[in-house]
């Protein structure tokens, strides 16, 4: 286990030295600051009188705060979920390929660690990074909304954590892609493909009806059966943020399933990496 943690530490140290991550943190802080300053929500006796965004009124009717804010929280949950995963794909696509670059990979492979330790450690390091960034951003959002409206909700935080699980599935595929082709661009492309596939898979029952009964429909259902149901997670996050009842039967099971998909993809990477020459 220690080598995995060692590699994870190696990756985190590497990330810390990258300007990109710093730039993101700064950017995120800026966005939070802008939201905090630009949004004015007058709370009168627990009822929302008017909210302004950059000087223009957003809502005109007087409603209780939580009801009025539901769409806002729902939207922010979606933005956090999809935005987070998209950012993760772009920001983290280079970690694995650079780890496998000549001069580095030979040194690492000659060390007394198992090959799968390398991949597992990279995965762990990147996920730690993702979790850290998510917690920072979503906690900021929660604070802003709470301070502004007096209504505290952990919706964005929950959405962020669910996005992390979704990102785990996506990044596992990206990492496995790196064992096939050492290219950050292709890794990112693989990540996008899984994201799109995951969005489709979440709506598979509805989309299946568009297919003609027969081979094409069965094929579609078979393929999407294995893909991570990312859009279902996003909708659940939105529902939770808006305090609406969940449409999925068991969120916990779904989350575990998505994570297990990620593990499966990672193990495919182990398989591939084990036999690869560098």
């Amino acid at each position: 286990m220690s080598p995995v943690l060692g590699i994870a530490g190696y990756v985190l140290r590497e990330a810390a030295s990258r300007k990109f991550i710093m730039a993101f943190m700064v950017g995120l802080t800026l966005v939070l600051a802008v939201v905090a300053l630009g949004m004015r929500i007058d709370v009168i006796d627990g009822a929302l009188a008017a909210s302004r965004l950059f000087g223009q009124e957003v809502r005109a009717t007087i409603q209780s705060v939580d009801v009025a804010l539901r769409p806002v929280y729902q939207a922010s949950a979606f933005i956090v979920f999809y935005g987070g995963i998209l950012f993760g794909i772009v920001a983290c696509s280079d970690f694995a390929p650079s780890l496998m670059s000549p001069g580095r990979i030979e040194h690492l492979l000659a060390l007394p660690i198992q090959r799968w330790h390398l991949l597992a450690g990279t995965f762990l390091g990147v996920m730690t990074l993702a979790l850290g960034g998510t917690l920072y951003g979503t906690t900021g959002l929660v604070l802003i909304f709470g301070v502004k409206t007096g209504y505290w909700t952990v919706g964005p935080l929950v959405a962020g954590l669910m996005a992390c699980v979704g990102f785990a599935a996506v990044y596992a595929v990206m990492l496995t892609m790196a064992t096939l082709v050492r290219s950050a661009a292709l890794c990112a492309a693989a990540g996008f493909a899984v994201l799109v596939g995951g969005i489709i898979a979440g709506h598979r029952q509805d989309i299946a009806k568009a297919f003609e009964e027969g081979v094409s429909r069965s094929l579609f259902q078979a393929v999407t059966l294995v893909l991570p149901r990312l859009s279902a997670l996003a909708e659940a996050a939105g529902d939770m943020a808006a305090s609406l009842p969940l449409e999925v039967r068991s969120l916990g099971t779904l989350l575990v399933g998505v994570f297990v998909f990620g593990l499966g993809a990672l193990v495919v990477g182990f398989w591939r990496f084990e036999g690869k020459d560098y």
């Binding site: 799968w116 059966l225 279902a232 039967r249 099971t253 399933g257 593990l263 499966g264 993809a265 036999g275």
Partner: protein, 391 residues
């Protein structure tokens, strides 16, 4: 080979993880397992029951034609189905046969019956008494052609003279009687009688066939065909096409008339490209329709098939999106299959859908029957009783 073993372990583990993930996600999302695809039997060819039925109907044996040079023994002509013989001959004709008897005993037949007997069977009873014909028992097949209509069945108890007695009639051929145009008394539902001038001609043949046509010549031509005096061309429907509860050929003209006016462009295209349409409907459980469109130019026909297929797909997606469940269900089974110079259109309606749609008829029928009984019962018992509504 330790490395290979290790790799194999990883691969197996990955497979197991993917299976576990699929199961967990499936359970977590709460999808209903996809209902087993409705197996619909499309009528595509003769089956054993169809063959047996066709054989049973070969009841007519034409007299052996005497050859010009006597002495040679001509082949004994094979027995044939007189109704098929009566059909119009040649291409481009319309002839659709409805197997009334088979339909009656099918599930959909039961549903249709409920609708027919909405009033508790009063009208049917009256017709039976008047004509001597029980449509539910004595009618076998109903044929619709360009020229008119034909019915086959057992018309021994038919009181033709009473029904058609006011018309001029004459014997024709060997077993036929032709009733020319005349006046008919029609009883309206409110009880009044009205005389109407009916220009159609009717012919009966051997208490087996009833031919209704636009003019006496037409019905006579039909009788000629039955009795072997017709042209040599093959009938519009051959015996090998007599499968399904409804089958036949539609001329393109007839087909385009059936298309709603909103789809005029499609109708025109059909007229340009197609030569004829052969269709078969199977109602033994679900209702399945197969229509084969043929045309002289393979390319045009294929194009038309593709357009139709695309239109169906579009309509299906629209129906899904628009939550029109019935239409969506109908179109779920709609398929277009191109095949050289023809294409086949398949459509099916699950029985459940029809049952739901016609459920109201059943309710009405049950109410009406209960009401009838209630009316008769107090007359017998002599006691006034409030009718009990039965659901």
């Amino acid at each position: 080979m330790e490395k290979r073993q290790k790799r194999r372990v990883w691969l197996v583990m990955a497979a197991l993880l993917f299976v576990a993930a699929a199961v967990l996600m499936f359970a977590g999302q709460g999808e209903e397992p996809a209902p087993p695809p409705l197996e619909v039997e499309f009528p595509r060819r003769m089956r054993q029951p169809d063959r047996e039925r066709a054989e049973r109907r070969r009841t007519q044996v034409l007299p052996t034609p005497v050859s010009a040079d006597s002495g040679t023994v001509a082949e004994r002509p094979r027995p044939r189905d007189p109704l098929l013989a009566a059909l119009p001959r040649g291409e481009g004709k319309t002839a659709v046969i409805i197997e009334a008897n088979a339909l009656r005993h099918s599930p959909i037949g039961g549903l249709l019956m409920d609708c027919l007997m909405r009033d508790g069977g009063k009208q049917l009873k009256e017709f039976r008494e008047k004509s001597g014909v029980d449509p539910l028992q004595d009618l076998d097949r109903l044929v619709i052609t360009d020229e008119g209509m034909m019915l086959s069945g057992n018309f021994e108890n038919a009181r033709f003279k009473e029904l058609l007695g006011e018309r001029v009639s004459a014997d024709y051929g060997e077993g036929a009687r032709v009733y020319e145009a005349g006046e008919n008394s029609v009883t309206r539902p409110d009880g009044t009688t009205v005389k109407r001038r009916d220009t159609s001609a009717i012919a009966t043949w051997n208490n087996q066939l009833l031919v209704v046509g636009k003019s006496p010549d037409e019905v006579k031509a039909a009788i000629d065909r039955v009795e072997g005096r017709g042209p040599d061309e093959p009938p519009a429907i051959s015996e090998s096409s007599t499968y399904g509860e409804m089958y036949g050929v539609l001329s393109v003209e007839m087909l385009s008339r059936l298309i709603p006016p909103e789809q005029a462009a499609l109708a025109q295209r059909l007229r340009d490209v197609a030569k004829n349409v052969e269709l078969h409907l199977d109602a033994s459980s679900d209702v399945a329709l197969v229509a084969e469109v043929r045309g002289p130019s393979a390319d045009d026909v294929t194009d038309l098939g593709k357009s139709l297929g695309a239109a169906l797909s579009l309509a299906r997606i629209k129906a899904q999106a628009g939550e029109d469940k019935d239409l969506a269900q109908l179109l779920d089974f709609a398929k277009v299959k191109p095949d050289g110079d023809s294409f086949t259109l398949e459509m099916a309606v699950p029985l459940e859908v029809i049952r739901e749609r016609l459920a109201i008829c059943r309710e009405n029928r049950q109410d009406a029957e209960a009401a009838l009984e209630a009316k008769e019962a107090p007359r017998e018992a002599g006691v006034e009783q409030a009718p009990v509504p039965v659901r």
